[in-house]
């Protein structure tokens, strides 16, 4: 493999993360929110892998694995919640789910 600058890898991760953050702040549909979370997690994992490749160690990939496991369980619970919310409130608007306010 030819060499790729680490900066570029991290830059890619940064861009993907930023896009995910923008999507999170803009979207009102709960499923979209969850999807943007996935994007952000993926970007973070990418950063880890890049770092691991820099040092030729497996640690980056191991970290990515853990992130993956966490993302999986989070998606499972999150989607179950989305389904329940859809059943109860008949809409997936995050802004209406604001009862816990001060």
């Amino acid at each position: 493999m030819t060499e790729v600058a680490m900066t570029n890898g991290l830059l890619l991760a940064g861009i993907l993360f930023t896009l995910g953050l923008t999507s999170l702040l803009v979207r009102r549909n709960l499923i979209f929110v969850l999807m943007s979370l996935e994007v952000m997690l993926n970007a973070a994992g990418l950063a880890f892998v890049v770092a691991g490749a820099r040092w030729h160690q497996a640690d980056g990939q191991v970290m990515f694995l853990f992130i993956l496991a966490m993302a999986a369980s989070e998606v499972a619970v999150g989607l179950a919640l989305a389904v329940e919310i859809h059943r109860r409130f008949k809409s997936l608007d995050v802004d209406t789910l604001s009862n816990m306010r001060g």
């Binding site: 953050l21 999170l24 702040l25 803009v26 009102r28 929110v33 995050v94 802004d95 789910l97 604001s98 009862n99 816990m100 306010r101 001060g102």
Partner: protein, 622 residues
Amino acid sequence: MLELLWLIPALPFASALVLMLSGSRFPQKAATALGVGSIGISALLTLLVAASFFIAPPADHSYTQLLWTWLNVGGFKPDIALRLDALSLVMVLVVTFVGFLIHVYSAEFMMEDEGYSRFFAYMNLFVASMITLLLGDNLLLLMLGWEGVGLCSYLLIGFWYREPANGHAARKAFVVTRVGDTLMLIGLLLLFTQLGTLQIQDLMQRASERWPAGSGYAVAAALLLLGGAVGKSAQLPLQVWLPDAMAGPTPTSALIHAATMVTAGVYLIARTHVLFSLAPAAQFAVAFVGAATLLLAGFSALTQHDIKRALAYSTVSQIGYMFLALGVGAWQAALFHFFTHAFFKALLFLCAGVIINALHEEHSIFKMGGLRKELPVAFWTFLIAGCSLAGLPFLTAGFFSKDLIIWEAWSADHGHPGFWIAGIVGALLTSLYTFRLIFRVFFGPLGTPVTKRLGYAMTIPLAVLALFSFGAGYLKAPLLNFLHSALPATMEAHAGGMTETGSEAVAAVVFLVGLYFAYLFHLQKRSLAEAAVLNPLGSLLHRWWFAGWGFDWIYDKVFVQPFIWAAQVNKSDFIDAFYSGVAWLADLFYRGLSRTESGRLRWYAAGMAVGSVVFLAMVLFR
């Protein structure tokens, strides 16, 4: 025997403490035993001490018992010391003896009241404070007793505290006497800073040494002490509290507001008579206050329809006589009048209590009548006391004491014919209003029917007091002689144109005139009384005198309303603004911060993003 002196105030104190700490569920018999018994034992001890004092008088006719040193600060060393001499002995005898009789009476009078033990606690505390006042060796201890009796007066006037009017009356009494107390305190401070001590005998000695007669300090100090006396004794201009103080239970009115507390002012002036002798201007003020008050109150007593209020104004008037005596230099006459007045005034109040109780809380004399046959004991004792008050010649104690004062008002070295005329007019008024009461209450057709009768506990004190109202006059010579050891004899300056017998004759005539007119207006032709009131001038005078010569109205307009206005205006001053500003600021923060907790997911996410931006910036661009 004299060493038992300290027990005389200590026993009522202890009893009051026990009764106060034990609460309202103390069994009534125990409360009675404690409350009445402590005063009884005090009275007994006083008799023993008095006997010992008579039989073997101590050196210099005074006995001091030092209990302990109160303070010792930079040369100021007041002690808790009790000093017994003729003056204090006479007064303590009266206080404990009359107090004991009134306590016995109260045991039956207050029997059904739920605050029974509280009542005795307050009464005992009062007696203890009064005795402390009388026996105090220095003015600070006297002040302690002074404040104590003021407190008990407040507590007892507002005894039935559930009624707001009683609370008002109690507050009024306290505030008005407070004005006097403040003046007295300033006087004490003046005396202390100028003469360096508050011990009474030292004080009198130093004052007579250092201050020439008529010096400014003497006059100022004497006038300030007079201010205190005027407050406590309900004289002009602070007499407004005593008629309203009748809101308290009748035994309280009898003990505190007739026989004892209101004479504390008389005691104070008599005690510091050296100071007053050094300040003729102040002494004249005393006499003037006394004369003015006795006339003012006499006119007011003539118009009252509440029997207790009439007796209250009568008390004010009689104390005016005592002040008049003090003012003209007739020290022993004032004390003698105090002695007799205590008996017959207490008796009058106790009878009034009996009547009010029997007629089921009816206070107005215009609704009473014909009680002569229904309440014979009350009738005869009230008659004796009333005659004593009005001064029935030769038979009653009041005659001897009041006439002595009237005579001295002419003949003493500070006397003046004007004072004599005031005294005579006062005697006329006294006779008028007393017999007005008697004729309205006991004669004529039956007004309100009698619902309750008396038991022995109420009858016996009445009888004993009646006996004394009768016979105390015969103690005149020995009493005056006895008091000579403590108070200087009155110097007879000028008797020009009048002899003692002549004065007594005029007083006797005045008594009969008053009796006749009272009979005319209030028994024979009652329509005359109504006509007098309906007449335009008569109506005006009636209303004016009924309202106590408008003093309440003046004080309200001049002091009370401006004070309330100032308090309202000051309610939200800058200090309040500061504190409410703090609260407002906290509220502002609360509102602001609670806006950030909107419950919206995207808002929180944005918050996190902003936070991370800020932190990164802090790290990067440090």
